[in-house]
């Protein structure tokens, strides 16, 4: 029986090799994948998120952590799916049309994945139609949008308009973020939530989906 606390440590340290080894050992020893996720991976990612929020960790470390998390998740996820376990929520995420910044969006995506969400990353320069289409086809309960330019922010409003137009606004929550975005802007365009950091976005997603 492997020491799973080392998996949490490896995630915190950004150690891909150890994380993958321990996860494999644990799965071979028939540890419940849901337990690996809930008891070790998610708490480790929460800790990383907390440290990032208070500036203790920074982008390069977080990207490294995200890589570790992804490698471990790839091992666990197929087993979870096979057992019919439901994710914490289904998220469609992307950087809005006209905008190519993806570091912040990637951080939020990996934090959400690390938080037990099923994440579909649409990449950058995503049109309102594509956001809505993917949300529908993935049966998502959350759309997360990022914009880093004051000039591309208005595209967030277009996504909400498109949701309304297609009559699916009620089925999905919308959260937004990015340097020029504010809570006030979120209120103005009728988004359900705003976070100024990746960790906050996970908490926000959890709260909104519970509603």
């Amino acid at each position: 029986m492997p020491d799973l606390s080392k998996l949490s440590e490896a995630i915190l340290k950004g150690d891909v090799k150890t994380a993958v080894e321990i996860t494999k050992e644990a799965l071979a020893a028939k540890v419940d994948p849901q337990e690996i996720l809930d008891k070790y991976m998610i708490p480790a990612m929460d800790e990383v998120g907390r440290k990032f929020e208070c500036n203790e960790l920074f982008v390069p470390e977080l990207l490294l952590t995200a890589r570790v998390m992804k490698s471990a998740l790839e091992l666990v996820r197929p087993l979870l799916a096979a057992s019919g376990a439901e994710p914490a929520g289904r998220v469609v995420i992307g950087t809005v049309k006209g905008d190519l910044h993806d570091i912040g969006k990637n951080l939020v995506a990996s934090m959400l994945e690390g938080g037990g969400f099923e994440v579909t990353d649409l990449g950058v320069d995503v049109s309102p139609e594509k956001f809505v289409e993917s949300a529908k086809s993935k049966n998502a309960n959350l759309i997360a949008m990022s914009a880093l330019l004051t000039t591309t922010m208005p595209s967030m409003k277009s996504v909400i308009a498109e949701l309304n137009k297609q009559g699916v606004r009620g089925q999905v929550k919308v959260i937004i973020g990015g340097a020029p975005v504010t809570q006030q802007y979120a209120d103005e365009i009728g988004a359900d939530g705003y976070s100024d950091n990746a960790n906050g976005a996970v908490g926000l997603a959890r709260t909104l989906i519970k509603k």
Partner: protein, 504 residues
């Protein structure tokens, strides 16, 4: 003999009395004059021109000022006392503006020319005698568009509102027209016709001045089709200038890399260089060019405003009270504050110095983490450096360093070493090159980094001497390739890696 003397400051128009014999540094400091070198007589930042009265010369002044300046009445305020009633003209402006005083080679032409650097924040205009190449007068002002947003993107956003574009165009024309009128009415202005006005600025400034649609610059792929040189008649601008001078806004290169960088290439003769050299403008948008006389590649990278002291907890511009330098001393550090005043903030050069010193002293780890429990580093109370400040700096320096690396990789097939690196702009003049290297902002040997001043203005000035038909710079532009970093596959990855500080 009375014990007080009367001082009048121009162009502020302030009049006041001080005790006879008071050092001018103390007097002027209270009236907002800055002493960039700390009043050590090392720079000319505090120079004043004596319009009435007398300030005696001393060795320090003669060393720093040229004989022409002395003859014109310029003195260093930091090396003088108020011994009699004085009327002084202050050379300094509200913000740091570099006017170029460097020498350059040219082919004489007839008449006068005016070169204008249209900066996002500041405007500088020089009146040049085209027969002698001499700069006869200089005027500067804040860019009046700045009240609609400090950075280019908020400016673009305003231009996209109903009357925004027209409003921005009108106020910039009006303000530059005012500067031109002041230059032409200066007593130093020779009685010759004005034959040409050249303007240089980034792509957004170019488009706003020329009344072009900025929509292409508001979103990906950020490529406008109207990058070329734009000509106007002074009458169209609403400028009342004698004769009918050619007015030309120099062409942009690509994306956000504007004619200010084209001017920088001219100013540094990068396009004539045998060896591969670099040019970087460390602003909110960092622009980088590398190349030689055969080929050039350029890119712009969004560094954010950290170098200007913005988004830094105790950040401020390089003004009195700013920590502008941090030196290592006896296993500790020492701060130098501008204007011999109590420290009240940290400017861009101080921020870079502080990070470099912190890394050397082990106070800051290569990851950027402050040692201890994350409490701010007390540099010189009340001024402290917070963990978040370091993160902002990491973003800014990461963007520049990553841009450089991508351009160098792009160039790599040529198997040529980059020789010299020119730094343009105000920050390039004040930044400590050793510190810039220590934090991984500029990975170059110190002796190869050359502060080049306001290269946008110098380049615009060089353009005054060209044949008006050649102001479109077609052959030169054909040798410059613009690389869009935002779509470059490796940029994000290199950017994240470049946020780390070098181990040593």
């Amino acid at each position: 003999m009375k014990n007080y003397v009367r001082i009048e400051l121009q162009p502020l128009g302030e009049v006041f009395q001080v005790e006879r014999g008071t050092p001018l540094q103390d007097v002027l400091f209270e009236h907002g004059v800055e002493f960039p070198c700390g009043g050590k007589g090392r720079c000319k930042g505090c120079r004043v021109r004596v319009l009435s009265g007398r300030i005696s010369l001393n060795a320090r002044q003669e060393e720093v000022l040229s004989s022409r300046e002395i003859q014109d009445g310029w003195r260093l305020a930091c090396a003088a006392r108020a011994e009699e009633d004085l009327v002084l003209e202050i050379a300094q402006w509200e913000t740091n503006i570099l006017t170029d005083e460097s020498r350059f080679s040219f082919t004489p032409r007839a008449g006068l020319g005016i070169a204008v650097d249209v900066g996002t924040t500041t405007l500088v205009a020089q009146l040049v005698d085209l027969t002698s190449g001499q700069v006869r007068a200089v005027q500067s002002a804040l860019n009046p568009q700045a009240r609609f947003g400090g950075d280019i993107m908020t400016r673009v956003q305003h231009a996209l509102t109903d009357d925004g574009r027209e409003e921005l165009r009108r106020i910039i024309h009006h303000e530059i027209g005012r500067l031109i009128a002041l230059l032409l009415h200066a007593p130093e202005c020779p009685a010759q016709p004005l034959s040409v006005i050249t303007l240089a600025g980034n792509t957004v400034m170019h488009h706003l001045f020329c009344g072009l649609d900025v929509r292409p610059l508001s979103a990906y792929p950020f490529e406008s089709e109207s990058l070329g040189a734009q000509r106007f008649s002074a009458k169209d601008m609403g400028w009342s200038v004698p004769g009918d001078p050619t007015v030309c806004f120099l062409p942009c290169i690509g994306g956000f890399v504007g004619s200010d960088i084209l001017a920088g290439i001219l100013a540094t003769s990068l396009h004539d260089s045998e060896t591969v050299v670099g040019l970087v403008d460390l602003g909110t948008n960092g622009e980088i060019v590398i190349g030689n006389r055969d080929k050039m590649i350029c890119a712009s990278t969004a560094a954010g405003p950290a170098f200007e002291g913005a988004r830094i907890e105790m950040g401020m511009r390089a003004a009195t009270g700013a920590i502008a330098e941090v030196h290592l001393e006896n296993n500790g550090w020492k701060c130098h504050v501008l204007g011999n005043a109590p420290a009240r903030g940290l400017c861009g050069s101080g921020l870079v110095d502080a990070a470099a010193a912190g890394l050397e002293l082990g106070i800051i780890q290569p990851s950027g983490r402050l040692n201890g429990d994350g409490t701010p580093w007390q540099l010189m109370p009340p001024v402290a450096l917070t963990q978040k400040d370091i993160r902002e700096l990491q973003l800014a320096k990461g963007a520049i360093a990553a841009g450089f690396q991508i351009l160098k990789e792009q160039w790599a097939d040529e198997a040529q070493e980059l020789g010299r690196l020119y730094l343009s702009g105000a920050f390039g003049n004040y930044i400590n090159r050793g510190s810039a290297r220590r934090i991984g902002l500029l990975d170059f040997p110190l002796e190869q980094i050359v502060p080049a001043g306001n290269t946008s203005l110098l380049g615009a000035k060089l353009a005054l001497f060209r044949d008006p038909d050649e102001l479109d710079f077609r052959p030169l532009l054909g040798r410059i390739e613009h690389l869009s970093l935002s779509v470059h596959l490796r940029f994000q990855e290199v950017f994240a890696e470049s946020m780390l500080f070098p181990e040593q």
